[in-house]
C-alpha cells in the first residue's frame, strides 16, 4: 500500500530527500470562447487556473472537487492529452511541455491513464486481449506471441483468467472491465498511473475491490498514482496526499489524514460535511453549501469561494450571526447579479390574498418582510446599525432603486474575501490552504468547531 512508503512532506517538499517524480507548476488550461467567422475571442473558460503540486515516487495523490472544478482537465492537460495554456510539468526532471511528438510518445509509455467509464473506454469490437495488447503494438512490440504472453500475465495479475483474453467487453461486468483497464495501463510497465474517477461508475462492493487491487498493484509495480475523484471517501481510503480543487484552483493541499481530520479551508469542511454518513442517527450536518459552482468563464473576484462560503469574513464594524451574515451576502450577490425581482415578490404576496387585490396594493413594509423571508433573513438583525443599513437598502430596493441598494450594501457590508485573493499558505505541518481567515489568523467560526467535534 502506498501509505507510509514515502515520508510525509508539505508542498515545498522540505522533508523529502528524493526528487518528485511529477512536478506541476502553474499549470493552466483556458478554453477560449470565440464568436463570429474570424473566431474572435470574447472570453475564456478558466478550467484550470494555475495549480502546483508534486507526486513523489510510490506515492498516491488525490485531486478532489465538485464537477466543473477542473480536476479532469488538470489530469488530461498534464500529460498533454490537451495542450496546457501555461505552466510547466516536470516528469523525472524533464519538462514535458517542451517535448516534441516522438519524445511525447516515449513519455506516454511511462505514464498511463485509466478512465471513469470502463464501458466506453474499450472498442466493443476488439477482444480484451487485443485491447490490452494494442498499446504494446503501438509502442513497437511486433512479436504477437510475446504480446499474448504479456496479456495473459497481466490478466492474471489483475485477478482475471487467461481465457478472458478472447472475450469481448460486453461479456464482462463493470468491475471486470475496470480490471482490464488496469491491465491495459500496466502493459507499458509505467512509472505512474493517472486514474480519472476510476471507480465512480462501479457499485460500492466492486469499488472497494478495485481500490484494493490498485493498492496491491502499486506495491508490486512501485507505481505512483494520481487519482481524480469527486468521492472523498475513495480519496481518503487510498491517498497519501490530497489536493482539494475549487473553480480551477487548489484551495487546500496536505496529507490525507490531516485534510480529512483537520480541514483548514471552509470549502473542504463543507465538502466533508456533505458526505452522507452511514449512520441514520446523524442526519444533516448543518453546513450546506448554497447554490451551484459559479461559471469558470467568469470566476468571482477575490477568493473564488466567497460566493458560497459559509465562513465568509464579516465587516469589522458590524456584528452578525455568521449564518445571517451569509444570507445577507446572498441577497447582496443576487442584487449585484440584477436578479432580485421586486414585482415578483409583490405578486407572490398578492396570490395569498383576496382575488380583488393587485400587486400595487401591497405595502412597502409587506414587500420588505417578504424579501427577508425569501432570503431567510430575520425580520430584525441583532446589530442595530447593521439593521438600519439593511433596512435602508431594502427601502431603496422597494422604491425601485436597486442601484442605490447595491451601492449601499457594497460600501457598508464589504468583506475582504471579495477583493483579496488568498494564497496557499502553510496552515499546519504538511498542510497548506488558501483562505484569508488563515492569512489574517482570524478565530475559527462556530461552523468550523462543529466539524472538528464530529
Amino acid at each position: 500500500m502506498g501509505k507510509g512508503v514515502s515520508p510525509v512532506s508539505d508542498q515545498s517538499g522540505a522533508a523529502r530527500t528524493e526528487a518528485p517524480l511529477l512536478s506541476v507548476r502553474n499549470l493552466t488550461k483556458h478554453y477560449p470562447i470565440t464568436t463570429g467567422l474570424r473566431s474572435k475571442e470574447v472570453g475564456r473558460v478558466r478550467a484550470v487556473d494555475g495549480i502546483d503540486f508534486d507526486v513523489y515516487p510510490g506515492e498516491t495523490v488525490g485531486i478532489v472537487g465538485e464537477s466543473g472544478c477542473g480536476k479532469s482537465t488538470a489530469a488530461s492537460s498534464l500529460i498533454r492529452l490537451e495542450e496546457p495554456t501555461e505552466g510547466t510539468v516536470r516528469f523525472d526532471g524533464e519538462d514535458i511541455t517542451r517535448y516534441d511528438q516522438a519524445e511525447l510518445k516515449a513519455f506516454r509509455r511511462r505514464v498511463q491513464m485509466i478512465f471513469q467509464d470502463p464501458e466506453s473506454s474499450f472498442d466493443p469490437r476488439m477482444s480484451i486481449g487485443e485491447a490490452i495488447a494494442e498499446p504494446l503494438a503501438v509502442q513497437g512490440l511486433t512479436d504477437a506471441s510475446r504480446r499474448r504472453e504479456i496479456v495473459v500475465d497481466l490478466l492474471e495479475r489483475v485477478g482475471l483468467a487467461a481465457g478472458d483474453a478472447d472475450r469481448y467487453p460486453h461479456e464482462l461486468s463493470g468491475g471486470q472491465k475496470q480490471r482490464v483497464g488496469l491491465a491495459r495501463a500496466l502493459s507499458m510497465n509505467p512509472d505512474m498511473i493517472i486514474a480519472d474517477e476510476p471507480v465512480s461508475a462501479l457499485d460500492v462492493s466492486i469499488q472497494s475491490e478495485i481500490l484494493a487491487l490498485m493498492t496491491d498493484l502499486q506495491e508490486s509495480f512501485g507505481l505512483s498514482i494520481l487519482i481524480i475523484s469527486h468521492n472523498l471517501a475513495v480519496i481518503r481510503q487510498i491517498c497519501d496526499r490530497v489536493a482539494v480543487m475549487y473553480l480551477g484552483e487548489i484551495v487546500e493541499l496536505g496529507t490525507a489524514s490531516e485534510v480529512f481530520t483537520n480541514p483548514q479551508h471552509p470549502y473542504t469542511r463543507a465538502l466533508l460535511a456533505s458526505i452522507p454518513t452511514a449512520d441514520p442517527t446523524d442526519r444533516g450536518t448543518g453546513i450546506e453549501l448554497t447554490g451551484d459552482v459559479p461559471s469558470p468563464s467568469n470566476p468571482p473576484t477575490g477568493c473564488r469561494f466567497h460566493t458560497r462560503c459559509p465562513e465568509l469574513i464579516q465587516p469589522d464594524d458590524y456584528a452578525f450571526e455568521q449564518s445571517v451574515w451569509r444570507r445577507v451576502m446572498d441577497l447582496r450577490q443576487k442584487l449585484d447579479g440584477g436578479t432580485v425581482d421586486v414585482d415578483a415578490i409583490r405578486e407572490g404576496v398578492v396570490t395569498e390574498r383576496e382575488p380583488s387585490e393587485t400587486p400595487d396594493d401591497v405595502s412597502a413594509t409587506e414587500t420588505k418582510a417578504r424579501l427577508r423571508d425569501e432570503f431567510a433573513i430575520p425580520q430584525s438583525l441583532g446589530d442595530s446599525r447593521a439593521e438600519s443599513v439593511l433596512e435602508a437598502a431594502l427601502d431603496d430596493l422597494v422604491s425601485g432603486n436597486p442601484a442605490a441598494a447595491r451601492e449601499r450594501l457594497a460600501t457598508e457590508f464589504a468583506t475582504p474575501c471579495e477583493s483579496q485573493s488568498p494564497t496557499l499558505e502553510d496552515a499546519t505541518a504538511g498542510q497548506t490552504a488558501s483562505c484569508l481567515r488563515l492569512e489574517n489568523e482570524l478565530p475559527p467560526t462556530e461552523l468550523e468547531q462543529t466539524v472538528r467535534s464530529d
Binding site: 471517501a233 481518503r236 458526505i275 452522507p276 452511514a278 444533516g284 450546506e288
Partner: protein, 440 residues
C-alpha cells in the same frame, strides 16, 4: 415476539366474518379515490390466492387475530403493498428472473429505501410498480402490487396511464436524459400539468412557476424559458422533481436521483425531498446503492440481492444491527469502514437462480442448509427494535427459531483472530520479479 409470525405486509386470507378489517387482499379496500374498475379487479384477484411464499400458509390461525388487531390501524396508512412480486424478462438466453418474489410495504408519508448492488433487481422493482419496463420482453409473472386498494399488476395500459404521473410519479437518475433537449423546461413542465389536469395555459404556467419556486429554483419565471442545457445538473434534477410533483402524487418513486450529482448538490436535493415530503405528505420509494444516502433519508430499508429481499426493517435497526450477511458485507464495503476487498464472487446467473439462499455462494457464514430449498423464510431478528411499528426481519437460516444467530458473531471473532487473508475469490497475483512484465 414470536418468530413465526407472518410479517406485517401479509395478512391471512380474509373471511366473511371480518369484513370490517380492510386489508390489501380484500376487496373491501375500496377507498374514496379508487375507481369503479377496482371492483372488477378485486373479483379477478379473488381467484388468485396471494400468499407470501416466504411466510407460507402454515401461520397459526390464533396468531393471526393478534396480527390483524395490531395491523388494523395500520392498513389504512398502507399506501403500497407489494406481495410476492415476480418480474421476468424473456431473452434469447432464457428467462431472466429480475425480481423473484419480493414483499414490501410503504405507509403513507414514509420513505422506503430499496438498496442493493447493480443487478439486484431494485430498479426493475421500482419499474414494476407502474409497469414502466418494456413489455415484451418484460412481464409480471406473479404477485400483486396493491396501491391504495388498486391492484396495479392486473391493470390495463390505459388504466395505468391514468395513475402514472398523476398518483405515482417517477424521477430518474440522469436528469439530462429525462428532459427533452429541444423544448424549454417550462414547456415540458406545463405539458406535465395539462396532461393530468384540465387547466388553461395561463393557469398551468402559474402552477409551473409555483412548482419551480417550491423546488428551490431561483427566478423561476425566467427559468421557464430556459432549455435543459442551460441548467446545471442539480437544477435539472430540481426541474424533474417539480415535474413529478405537478399532480401532487401520493407516491414518488425516485430511482437513484442523486447518483449523478456532486456530494454538495446531493445534500441539497436530499434536504429538498425531505421538505417536500413533509409538505405534501407523500410517500417516497427511494432506490439507491449508496448506504450513506439510505442512512440520510430512509424510514424503512429493504435490502435486495439477486431479485430477493435479504433483510428489511427500520433504518435504525438495519444500520445498528445489520443481520443478514449480505447487509453486513455491504456495510463493510463502505470506504473507511472495515477492510478493502469488496464482496468476493459475483451475482448468480439471473436466468438460472441457485436453490437455497441466493447469497450462499458468496456468504462467509454459509452452511450446507443454505444451498437447498427456497430462499429462507423471513425471521424476526428480535432484540430491541428502535421503531416498534417496523419489524426487523431477515431471510437467513442462522436466524431460524431453532438456530442461534450469535454464531455469526462467533465466526466474526474467529476470523479476526486469525491473520486476515484478503477475502477475495480472485487473488491478485503476487509473482516475484516485480516490473519487467512488459519491458523488453
Amino acid at each position: 415476539m414470536t418468530t413465526n409470525r407472518p410479517d406485517n405486509t401479509t395478512h391471512p386470507p380474509q373471511t366473511d366474518q371480518t369484513p370490517s378489517i380492510p386489508t390489501a387482499n380484500d376487496g373491501s379496500t375500496a377507498t374514496s379515490r379508487s375507481t369503479p374498475a377496482s371492483t372488477i379487479n378485486a373479483n379477478a384477484r379473488g381467484n388468485k390466492t396471494i400468499v407470501n411464499s416466504n411466510t407460507s400458509t402454515d401461520s397459526p390461525a390464533h396468531d393471526s387475530t393478534a396480527a390483524e388487531a395490531s395491523s388494523d390501524a395500520k392498513t389504512d396508512e398502507m399506501l403500497l403493498t407489494v406481495e410476492n412480486l415476480k418480474t421476468v424478462f424473456d431473452t434469447d438466453d432464457g428467462t431472466v428472473h429480475a425480481v423473484d418474489g419480493i414483499d414490501f410495504t410503504v405507509q403513507r408519508g414514509e420513505t422506503v429505501c430499496i438498496v442493493g448492488e447493480s443487478g439486484s433487481g431494485k430498479t426493475v422493482t421500482s419499474e414494476s410498480i407502474t409497469q414502466l419496463f418494456k413489455s415484451p420482453p418484460g412481464s409480471i409473472a406473479d404477485g400483486s402490487v396493491v396501491f391504495d386498494g388498486i391492484d396495479l399488476a392486473s391493470r390495463t395500459e390505459d388504466e395505468l396511464t391514468d395513475i402514472r404521473g398523476a398518483r405515482i410519479s417517477h424521477i430518474f437518475q440522469n436528469p439530462q436524459g429525462a428532459l427533452n433537449p429541444v423544448y424549454t423546461v417550462g414547456w415540458q413542465l406545463i405539458e406535465a400539468i395539462q396532461l393530468h389536469r384540465n387547466v388553461d395555459d395561463d393557469a398551468a404556467r402559474e402552477d409551473a412557476v409555483d412548482l419551480l419556486n417550491r423546488v428551490g429554483i431561483p427566478e423561476a419565471s425566467s427559468r421557464l424559458d430556459d432549455y435543459p442545457h442551460e441548467l446545471s445538473g442539480g437544477m435539472k434534477q430540481r426541474v424533474m422533481i417539480a415535474m413529478a410533483l405537478a399532480c401532487q402524487p401520493d407516491l414518488l418513486i425516485a430511482d437513484e436521483p442523486t447518483t449523478a450529482l456532486d456530494v454538495t448538490i446531493q445534500a441539497q436535493i436530499l434536504t429538498l425531498l425531505r421538505e417536500l415530503q413533509a409538505d405534501f405528505g407523500m410517500s417516497i420509494v427511494f432506490i439507491t446503492h449508496d448506504l450513506g444516502v439510505v442512512a440520510e433519508i430512509a424510514d424503512r430499508v429493504v435490502v435486495m440481492y439477486a431479485g430477493k429481499v435479504m433483510e428489511r426493517g427500520s433504518v435504525y435497526d438495519v444500520f445498528e444491527s445489520p443481520s443478514h450477511p449480505y447487509t453486513k458485507a455491504l456495510l463493510e464495503c463502505l470506504p473507511g469502514r472495515g477492510s478493502l476487498g469488496g464482496i468476493p464472487g459475483s451475482l448468480p446467473d439471473p436466468t438460472a437462480p441457485p436453490t437455497g439462499c441466493r447469497f450462499a455462494d458468496r456468504c462467509p457464514y454459509a452452511v450446507e442448509e443454505c444451498t437447498v430449498g427456497e430462499q429462507p423464510v423471513f425471521e424476526s431478528v428480535g432484540g430491541e427494535a428502535r421503531d416498534e411499528d417496523i419489524e426487523h426481519e431477515v431471510s437467513c437460516v442462522h436466524y431460524r427459531s431453532a438456530a442461534d444467530p450469535s454464531v455469526l458473531d462467533q465466526l466474526d471473532a474467529d476470523r479476526s483472530s486469525v491473520p486476515q487473508e484478503r477475502p477475495s475469490g480472485r487473488t491478485v497475483g503476487t509473482r516475484d520479479g516485480e516490473g519487467g512484465v512488459a519491458r523488453e
